[in-house]
């Protein structure tokens, strides 16, 4: 039973990023979020390497922030530029 579960779920997190070596990973979270949407705009939704940014920001960012930023994007009030 546990072997089945282990084969279904790979436990993994974001690797070390030298741009953000300290405990405060806020900027890492925000960078990955904006990079994902810039990647989508530039390469399209089905481009597989963009998924890496999505996994990263889903691991790093608090869900409240992701929800808030998604709302801001819908409303057009997102504070950073999402142009590639």
């Amino acid at each position: 039973m546990s072997e089945d579960l282990q084969s279904k779920y790979v436990i993994q997190t974001v690797g070390f990023d030298a741009r953000f070596p300290n405990t405060n990973q806020t900027r890492n979270c925000f960078q990955n979020y904006t990079d994902y949407f810039k990647c989508i705009t530039a390469k399209g939704e089905d481009y597989a390497p963009c998924k890496q940014f999505k996994k990263a920001y889903n691991s790093l960012c608090p869900n409240e922030w992701i929800a808030k930023w998604d709302e801001q994007r819908e409303a057009g009030t997102f504070p950073a530029s999402l142009e590639p």
């Binding site: 990023d17 030298a18 741009r19 953000f20 070596p21 300290n22 900027r27 960078q31």
Partner: protein
């Protein structure tokens, strides 16, 4: 007999700094140098944005470069330096 102005100048040259206060000057000088070095180090850090031409300086850090002054149990091959303001 030297003129009064020359006497004044000579005594000024002899007394313009207090010899007994040299340790204070040394310590204060060291503190000023250290503080300005650290302030310069903070100002050229990767998390500081100075101009619109360089909005994300942290994106120039490569994976083997470190920005820290002291590390424990971590080894970086090179240390990052800011290339543009």
């Amino acid at each position: 007999m030297p003129a009064p102005q020359q006497n004044l100048r000579r005594s000024l040259m002899k007394n313009w700094f207090a010899v007994e206060a040299i340790p204070i000057y040394v310590i204060i000088g060291g503190v000023v140098v250290g503080a300005s070095w650290y302030l310069g180090r903070l100002a050229t850090g990767s998390q500081v944005v100075w101009t619109k031409k360089n909005p994300t300086p942290w994106n120039t850090i490569k994976q083997d470069e470190g920005t820290k002054l002291l590390t424990v149990n971590q080894k970086f091959e090179k240390s990052w330096s800011r290339d543009t303001l």
